[in-house]
Symmetry: C5
Subunit: 354 residues, 5 copies
Amino acid sequence: MPHTPLKRKEDIGLSPYELKFRGRHRSREVQMTVFDVSADDAQEVAIRTVEELQPYKDSDKFIWLNIDGLHNEALMGELAENLHIPAEILSDVMEPATRPHMEEFDEGLFVSVKMMQFHENMHQISIDNLSIVLMNNMLITFQEEPSDMFHPVKERLKKHRMRFMARGADYLAFALLDVVIDHYIFILGMIGEKIEEVENKMVLGPDRETLKVINLLKHELSDLGHHIKPAREVIMSLEKLDTDFINPENDKYFKELHDNINQAVELLDYYRELLYDELNIYHSSMSTRLNDIMALLTVFSVIFIPLTFIVGVYGMNFDYMPELHLPNGYFIVWGVMLLIAAGMLWYFKRKKWF
Amino acid sequence: MPHTPLKRKEDIGLSPYELKFRGRHRSREVQMTVFDVSADDAQEVAIRTVEELQPYKDSDKFIWLNIDGLHNEALMGELAENLHIPAEILSDVMEPATRPHMEEFDEGLFVSVKMMQFHENMHQISIDNLSIVLMNNMLITFQEEPSDMFHPVKERLKKHRMRFMARGADYLAFALLDVVIDHYIFILGMIGEKIEEVENKMVLGPDRETLKVINLLKHELSDLGHHIKPAREVIMSLEKLDTDFINPENDKYFKELHDNINQAVELLDYYRELLYDELNIYHSSMSTRLNDIMALLTVFSVIFIPLTFIVGVYGMNFDYMPELHLPNGYFIVWGVMLLIAAGMLWYFKRKKWF
Amino acid sequence: MPHTPLKRKEDIGLSPYELKFRGRHRSREVQMTVFDVSADDAQEVAIRTVEELQPYKDSDKFIWLNIDGLHNEALMGELAENLHIPAEILSDVMEPATRPHMEEFDEGLFVSVKMMQFHENMHQISIDNLSIVLMNNMLITFQEEPSDMFHPVKERLKKHRMRFMARGADYLAFALLDVVIDHYIFILGMIGEKIEEVENKMVLGPDRETLKVINLLKHELSDLGHHIKPAREVIMSLEKLDTDFINPENDKYFKELHDNINQAVELLDYYRELLYDELNIYHSSMSTRLNDIMALLTVFSVIFIPLTFIVGVYGMNFDYMPELHLPNGYFIVWGVMLLIAAGMLWYFKRKKWF
Amino acid sequence: MPHTPLKRKEDIGLSPYELKFRGRHRSREVQMTVFDVSADDAQEVAIRTVEELQPYKDSDKFIWLNIDGLHNEALMGELAENLHIPAEILSDVMEPATRPHMEEFDEGLFVSVKMMQFHENMHQISIDNLSIVLMNNMLITFQEEPSDMFHPVKERLKKHRMRFMARGADYLAFALLDVVIDHYIFILGMIGEKIEEVENKMVLGPDRETLKVINLLKHELSDLGHHIKPAREVIMSLEKLDTDFINPENDKYFKELHDNINQAVELLDYYRELLYDELNIYHSSMSTRLNDIMALLTVFSVIFIPLTFIVGVYGMNFDYMPELHLPNGYFIVWGVMLLIAAGMLWYFKRKKWF
Amino acid sequence: MPHTPLKRKEDIGLSPYELKFRGRHRSREVQMTVFDVSADDAQEVAIRTVEELQPYKDSDKFIWLNIDGLHNEALMGELAENLHIPAEILSDVMEPATRPHMEEFDEGLFVSVKMMQFHENMHQISIDNLSIVLMNNMLITFQEEPSDMFHPVKERLKKHRMRFMARGADYLAFALLDVVIDHYIFILGMIGEKIEEVENKMVLGPDRETLKVINLLKHELSDLGHHIKPAREVIMSLEKLDTDFINPENDKYFKELHDNINQAVELLDYYRELLYDELNIYHSSMSTRLNDIMALLTVFSVIFIPLTFIVGVYGMNFDYMPELHLPNGYFIVWGVMLLIAAGMLWYFKRKKWF
């Protein structure tokens, strides 16, 4: 969850028009690449200024402009001016704590969701905003950090250029969102495997380590839910939206997105339930174990406490204690004590204490 | 729940058109059988290629094509081409982790639900996808493994061929889904019987075994719910759907499906509640038992601790301890100790500790 | 809850047209009685065959046909044929595990709810299906067992024959359902009284018996809810239904049914909440009691453990133990022990342990 | 909650037309008072028979008829006949266990809510039904017991007679319901103060008394919720109702009622949450206290148990025990015991047990 | 939460027209300032009487009138009369316990929300009502206490006067509400940081202090939710409202408010969940710790209890105890005791008790 403060005191009251970056990373340079779908050799081209976009804009097909890095406020201003993207929307793009949401404006659609990626080498999940601006002949994507998540889409784009051209920029938007949701499901699946592992360990008897893992997984699921559930709302409003920027022929793809994100949310709820059950099993077994410990202590104490009392009695130093002088006194006491112990054991056995 | 990963890394970013099998079983050959309802001797006929379907397709009545096994990607391609089933739909058919859902396409309806079957000999529940494609004069069903679940429908189909012919392929779809839901209820009923058994055992006093069974049953119900609840959504949207592929005369059957799946979901919730109550009873009885154990330990300790102290006192070896030389010292000490013990017993009795 | 299996293996896949009895009681003969409202001396007449209904059917007013026993499959077939009741509906009537539901068919309405009756002599609640078929000039009711539940309605029917005639068969259906719901509320009220009793006992200190009663009442409420909540859905859809079989003038009666069943469901939820609170009180008082037990044990142990150690010390048999030979050694030890005991007591007092 | 049975066996199956009183108080005489708003000296006049209403009925303005006591069945019959109030509605008025609800009839509106009043002298909350019948030129209110709750409205009615006349009987109905809801909020506020008191006590350490108060307050809130939540439904349907009996100009007042009752329900939920949290704090502190008790017992036991064993060893009477004859044996044993005790204390200190 | 009683006995039954202040602070004088947006040097001007507003009212642009202090009933009366604000609305303004709500009247819109501010110097959150009356060429804000919360809006108003003029008074209302919601998120973020701190402490092992902090934070979140959730309802109805007082061009700003308040509510729920999880971790670790304590006590007791018994046996003073006279008796007893201890330790080790 957010380690940058959600709202900084000095940002309160800012106009929604202010193009101010509110995140942390500023060292790297902002990278822009253009993917011209209509070109014969559909290739990614790196550009440096917004002006370099000019030749692509007149294309009768669509282009994909990807921007990695959000901290160049001047560049954002140029984008706003040149491409007629409202300042309010770019101001949202530049806010890393923004909530997944969807907005329509005069010349396009704006969609913001969280993209999550598992980095196998670091055993860590990274979370970034993906902002998509869908316009008539252009799709713009913004990310704070460069990532290789959309590599398979780029491959498909190169291989099936004609298909993408025929279906338009909205189909490309679908393909990107589809990848984002597939990653949700992939990450959930990984957590699910860990939950199953914990479950198998539980059978052997839970220990403190298990409890820590369960609590950690719960925390992770909470965080994922915090990102996935608003994304579902976005996808649902995209599906219901009656807009010129999505070709009705492509509606079925957005319906599929909806099915996929629903699957993600269901998995989330299912895993939460499993974890909740595991926590319950942990507590049940703890309480059962406490019962067993106390039963053992009690059996031992209850048997030996009277015996220890009896031997104490005959350790007293009174001048006149008749039993002490009985010839078989010592053996009689042993007999009595064995009887008491046997009686107690029989009683506990009958009560099924062990 | 899913033991195949939900989403394999290499499947992320695949086009929804890609006809790629994503499950595990590939050894057996794919089996296709055709059931021609209009034929006089309505019989199942095994076929090997899609071309063999040609003669049936011109029938003015409908045929039922059943396909067991989903891993023949070439066959799926032929089906797509010959029967005009969109590739997106066959791609869903080939994904074993697909979520129950329903889709309408130009020439038909696609329905995917989970079918569950209890194998008495193995004391095990198997779960498989059932994909149904309903077209004007054809019903296609896909399963990953062959099963005998639809045997009674086939019997009815043979016996009442005319009735099925009159009502159309959508009625056959209803009959199959009805069997699927009946199996849900049958399996829920079996779990319900186990829950009642546990309940009866509870009366005698719950032990660790009971706890394990309760947790197991909870887990099973969670899994069933994960399959049944999305199936209810499918049935509900089927009922509400305004489509050419379901004859309005058959609407009442789909309403009945809805009633049946509702019954399944209600049973599910009812059993969950029962299990939750049983778990509570287990915990209550554990906490009551701990109280009892501790009360016993405390009664014994509190009575004997002062007595043991007293006998200890008169075991001391001081040169001058006047009580030791009293003629009745020993008996007086016994008297005092009996008084203390009686007092304690009276106190605990009054406090209702035992 | 269901002690007959919900679904028998051999019933899966049956056609919805199959008129097969799926319950258990087959010994008694099926009883049919007709109540002709238009007759001057509105009386119940027992009949044996469906043909005997013929003279009543031509009546311009309505008749009430009551059938006790559902296992006569031939009779059901005749009813289907003679009165044009669809086989699907009679098939539902013959299924004792059917879920409360409502269905409209060409010539009437079908309503199925659970009727519950408390038998004072047996201290037991019986549950039976009530199936009502409402047609233009006929009301048919089916029950598996004969009961006297509708006796007051019959009395009113005899007394106010004209009023019933004026309002029609739908008003009679309302009157019957009203009695059914009144019984729900009556039974809930009885459970409510038991819950109040438990509450009063709780004040004195809960014991194991209380816990058993609470769990039993929870179970009973769960069962009732399982029958009452679907009945509410039925009543709600009856109220909203736009049908020819309910005279708009009688709409207000169905609105009243709705109010009544809502009251039943609210009571149910209210009592569940009370029971849940009582269970919490039980657990709180158990945990408080455990605290008290342990505090007592600890106070005793902590005071006597050091004292017992001290007397042990002076019971040792070392050759040279100077304290033993002090003239007042014994009394000094007593003094020290009393000081320790007093200090401990003061400490526990200050910590408010007792 | 209901101490009168909710439904008496003999009342089941009564016609909704039956004007039968189902409550308990029958001793007092029924009191009727008329408030003629159009009269110059708007005064309350006591009347004895329904006929005395005649002169007021022809008034072109409206009158307020208040009836305290519901057990005069004859009077109710006259009201039904003279004022054309349907018998079903008066039958509801006479049922003390009726659920808050709202009904429209040909010549008016019927509203039934619970009125709650706190009696400072008795430290008790009384609950009564308020039944309001709103007709074109008449407002009738029924209560089982006379109360002074509407005194402030009567004062306002006398002072601002013209304003009430201008706004009509529906405004008077609003004013009465407003007072009823204000009392809900007042009583909730009083409970809220008690909850804050408990909270402050909790800081000092919860005792058994606190637990009792929390459970009592929970019970009271449950009861209030059982009355307030259905009242909200009534107010909501009043607001949405499209009726001739409420002047559209007065709609805003009913919207305000809605806001007020919403505030009441929110307070209710907020207080429930607070109580739930307090109960949790109680349990947490109980479990923490048990930990502390057990830690103390364990520290004492674990330190002294080995020491007591050691002194026991040297209290044995074997003929040959070499340590006993060491010149410094006694002091060496003391040294060893002090070392053991110090080691234990250091261990517990490091483990942060105290 | 409310420390002023929610409803004072004497306020029940007041007419909604009564302009009576129901809060506590009356000492300070009421302050009024006017901000004339159309003036060239847009400046705040303090005024003393409602008449001084006259010159501003004829302005063709809009003015912002801010009133700090609600207890001047005469002034409120003048406002009602001069500016045609209905008395009901001003009566709501003067009620500090009013629930956030929104109302439309003939000449404007009324919005009431809670504004929350964190005072760094006092480490405290203050809560006040913000009442906004939006009319065609005037925006009136009421607060009970003066605050500097809207300082940034005033700065923007001075700097971008033309932009505000162009967008109208409704845009100013948006800007103020936006600041209010930003403060909600800021305060939630601060609580979120404290929750993370607690989480980090939890890893080290929770102590009593942690529990107090968790309970405190839960209480604070409950309070915030009690204010923020109704505010969301207000924002939602503002967004949906079809009114002349909000320019359709400004709709997008209200949509943004909606997104922001949704983020606040989601954060609230997310933090509640985190706290709930932390509480669970606290309890789990308490129960684990109790297990550990009891295991330690039991291991010690179970090992030493039999040994102490044995040494007691040989401390008895019987005349004839043969073992005592064995030459190696003492050493044999030591051997037996060491064997017993070792056996016990091996048993506990195998059972994994430590």
